[in-house]
């Protein structure tokens, strides 16, 4: 004969110390008592769990977790500008997404296309944790989140990529004529559509470059290496990485006995300015200098003072000239 009232009081913690010690005594009397108590305890526990289960608000819990893990795509606030979508690109992306949808019939969820077209520098974080720091005038398109066996990104412009995620999950950057295949690595790409030359500079890891018309030939680049691609001739060459490849992002520029032709090119790239000379002998001068976080005007003045130059502005472009004697 079970005293259910007493059992319930013990299970809910209402029993007196006396009752509890009597209960333990009773348990010790026989194995049958222990088994009986186990059954009671299980029924009680199930009843308790089921009551609580009913009251759990799954939707509310999900909202909280979702808020904590957003945002999936971060746009650096200080550089934020409204994202502009090129209509043609969006249509293309919808087609890409639709194609992926058709190729994966078992998938129920359709990934969203993601496009950034940026006039200013900004940073985006993709669903796999990859960070892309975009320079101005850069277009980046991909399907988000990445779900297929290859992370495919359409790209033009300049950006620093820090690719994250599993090694066996290829990350592919499509730039039209060239594709870049990467595995957990960081590198800079400069490939503006209107420019005749594309540059790739690897900071860490391993990068493979393939040309669309000749997919067999692969150029492998390790850290410290770079590649230059001439679009008109289709010539792809491996070179030493440009030490100033990341200067547009870091504002850290180093020149080691560098011809002024190259100095001016670097300044154009980093500060998005146009520079020219009225006397080509200026381009043969050589400069050794280290600039860190300096403004363009400051660097321009240093260059002018060093080589005794002046500059004039013409339609947004700066023209360097040698100072006339006595000036």
């Amino acid at each position: 004969m079970i005293n259910y009232e007493l059992a319930a009081r013990i299970l809910s913690g209402e029993a007196t110390a006396d009752e509890r010690s009597q209960h333990i005594h009773w348990l010790n009397e026989s194995a049958a008592n222990v088994q009986l108590w186990e059954e009671l305890r299980m029924a009680w526990q199930l009843g308790t769990d089921a009551t609580r289960y009913q009251e759990v608000d799954v939707q509310q819990g999900w909202q909280k977790v979702r808020d904590a893990i957003e945002p999936k795509v971060i746009v650096a606030p200080r550089l934020f500008r409204p994202v502009q979508f090129a209509a043609a690109s969006v249509i293309l992306l919808m087609m890409v997404a639709a194609l992926i949808w058709l190729m994966m019939p078992e998938r129920i969820l359709l990934p969203e296309s993601f496009a950034v077209s940026s006039d200013v520098q900004q940073e985006v974080v993709l669903s796999d944790g990859t960070v892309v720091f975009l320079n101005h005038g850069t277009n980046l398109m991909c399907v988000q989140p990445f779900t297929s066996d290859e992370r495919l990104v359409q790209f033009s412009g300049e950006a620093f990529f820090d690719v994250k995620g599993a090694d066996n999950w290829p990350f592919v950057i499509d730039m039209g004529d060239l594709t870049v295949h990467v595995r957990g690595t960081s590198f800079n790409i400069r490939s503006y559509n209107e420019a005749g030359v594309a540059y790739i500079d690897v900071s860490s890891g391993l990068v493979e470059i393939r040309q669309k018309h000749n997919a067999q030939e692969v150029l492998q680049l390790e850290a410290g290496m770079g590649a230059v691609y001439h679009k008109s001739s289709g010539l792809l060459t491996g070179v030493k990485a440009n030490p100033n490849a990341l200067a547009w992002k870091t504002r850290d520029i180093k020149f080691y006995n560098t011809p002024l032709s190259e100095v001016l090119e670097t300044l154009e790239r980093v500060y998005d300015v146009e520079l020219s000379v009225n006397d080509t002998t200026i381009l043969n001068e050589r400069l050794g200098a280290h600039f860190s976080q300096n403004t363009f005007t400051y660097i321009l003045n240093v260059v002018c003072m060093t080589f005794d130059l002046t500059y004039t502005e013409d339609n947004g472009a700066l023209i360097l000239a040698r100072k006339k004697k006595g000036e």
Binding site: I2, N3, Y4, E5, L6, A7, A8, R9, L11, S12, G13, E14, E39, L40, M42, A43, W44, Q45, L46, G47, T48, D49, A50, T51, R52, Y53, Q54, E55, V56, V58, G61, W62, K64, V65, R66, A68, I69, K72, L109, P111, L126, S127, D128, G129, P145, F146, T147, K164, G165, A166, W169
Partner: protein, 181 residues
């Protein structure tokens, strides 16, 4: 969590940052994990917070961890987080304020079918008995608190709780649960 291949596919999608796969996992495990956390923590808010934080951590580590059985992984993570919470709370509370009931190692995790069965059994209790049982088991009210809330005697609460236990025990035997209800 019967379909092992389905789990593997789901975890791979999560590892690749698919937040909708993550939502599916969350919704299939959340309530059961909250119940599990309640066995360590006395109030439902902290139990829910613990489970939510475990999911947020899983999302942050999604690319690094390799998980074949997500529910087992989550249960262990919830248990460890609960134990840490209790250790921290120890500095402010005396030991005997902790819940006496600790989950047994061999305890079977709840599944949807068992919960439904148990809920239907509770639903068969007379209204007053059901209400008293819920106030005690879910709201965590003491017998005396229930008595004053409902304007009845503590003796009546005791009797109703005893009858509720008797009914559960008669309708929820191990054999019944093993035989697919």
């Amino acid at each position: 969590m019967e379909q092992k291949n389905g789990d593997k596919d789901l975890m791979q999608r999560i590892a690749r940052g698919d937040d909708r796969a993550f939502e599916l996992l969350f919704k299939s495990c959340y309530a059961r994990l909250v119940i599990y956390a309640r066995k360590y923590l006395s109030d439902s808010d902290s139990a829910e917070n613990v489970v939510q934080s475990v999911f947020v951590k899983l999302w942050e580590k999604r690319a690094e961890v390799s998980i074949s059985n997500p529910f087992a992984y989550l249960m262990i993570a919830v248990r460890n987080t609960c134990i840490n919470e209790l250790k921290q709370a120890k500095q402010f509370q005396s030991l005997d304020q902790f819940p006496v009931n600790r989950p047994e190692d061999d305890e079977v995790p709840l599944d949807e079918a068992i919960v439904n069965k148990v809920q239907s059994v509770i639903g068969q209790l007379p209204e007053q008995r059901q209400r008293i049982f819920r106030l005690n088991r879910f709201e965590g009210l003491k017998y005396a608190e229930i008595a004053s809330l409902l304007g009845i005697s503590v003796k009546t609460v005791e009797a109703q709780m005893g009858k509720a236990l008797k009914y559960l025990r008669e309708h929820l035997t191990r054999k019944m649960l093993a035989n697919g209800l």
